[in-house]
Amino acid sequence: MGCGRTGAAIAGSLDRDGHQVTVLDLDAGQFRRLPDSFGGRMAVGNGMDAEVLERAGAREAAAFVAVTQGDNRNYFASQLAREIFGVKNVVCRTKDPERGEIFGHLGLQTYSPTSAGAEAILAMLPGSGPA
């Protein structure tokens, strides 16, 4: 859910590896980010709508990844996938690290690009540890 740079990269990679992938986005124009070789399904719709998720095949999905720009939208859709459709492996990108930590205690796998980015950059600054 969410065909931005991250979503398109994840979908392209899974597709290349032979998995069956459906990409969901509100804006069909976002599908241009997918590689030309992409063989999965592209669905236009709101992933916070249970009917849209069902039509996208959430009931049969082994995994659900929410990578829209909105932490709360990602959370809402992830819980729909988990609670209503029984998806086992759910990943919810959460930019706000505090919120992400709480979401992690509520049944989701979360990833915070903010914390990960800060750590990666700090690692590139020699001597950035305790002075």
Binding site: I84, R99, I102
Partner: protein, 224 residues
């Protein structure tokens, strides 16, 4: 009792105002700075600007000692997140406004059982309380539009008003008024709606319930 209200829109504001007049300690958290400033004056300084979906904002608002958190923004995903964080912080009672009635199921699955949906409440009033016969279908028009006739009784909420003052559902309009003497008139700025008038109204099939409520009334004492 200490109540935190997330969202200072119409619902949050009126809720805050009612709680303020009682014996409760209350705080409204509103994301928009201009809206927060606007209602802060009206709510005697009990409004804090901030995003209630951020745990640190809720912590700053003293969520640890809150007895109840009501999440009443216009976005269901925000309301869900506020309730989840509040519960995670140990708030004994959380309550959510649900804008899309079908979302109530997810709130329930997440253990947030107190949800309030105005859409659902109005719908049930329309289905249960209104006489179905007071609106007569006249004909089907193009593209989902319909022509219906509504006869105004003494108890109609629009009697005494001009057509312009009547709040109709989207894409609905009063096309013609036939008074009790059988005289047809095109509604104008100086037309007053009178009991006994028959209104010929263009509307959409899915708006007929709301139209009925607007012109005939019947949802008793409900206000949003």
């Amino acid at each position: 009792m200490y109540v935190i209200i997330a969202g200072g829109g119409k619902v949050g504001y009126y809720l805050g105002r009612e709680l303020l007049s009682g014996d409760h300690e209350m705080l409204v958290i509103e994301r928009s700075a201009s809206r927060a400033a606007e209602i802060n004056d009206l709510l005697e300084g009990t409004v804090q600007q901030g995003d209630a979906c951020e745990a640190s904002v809720l912590d700053g608002a003293g969520i640890a000692r809150a007895d109840l958190v009501a999440a009443v923004t216009g976005d269901d995903e925000d309301n869900l997140v506020v309730c989840e964080i509040a519960r995670y912080r140990g708030v004994p009672r959380v309550l959510a406004r649900v804008n899309n009635p079908t979302n109530a199921l997810l709130f329930e699955k997440r253990g947030i059982e107190t949800t309030v949906s105005a859409t659902e409440a109005i719908l049930s009033q329309i289905e249960q309380e209104l006489p179905v016969t007071s609106m007569v279908p006249v004909m089907q028009l193009h593209q989902g539009l319909e022509l219906v006739e509504v006869r105004l009784s003494e108890t109609s909420p629009v009697v005494g008003r001009t057509p312009r003052e009547v709040l109709l559902p989207p894409e609905s309009l009063i096309a013609l008024i036939v008074d009790s003497g059988g005289v047809p008139r095109v509604p104008g700025a100086d037309t007053t709606l009178t009991a006994g008038d028959a209104l010929v109204v263009v509307t959409r099939a899915e708006s007929k319930g709301m139209l009925q409520e607007a012109l005939i009334g019947g949802a008793h004492g409900f206000d949003t």
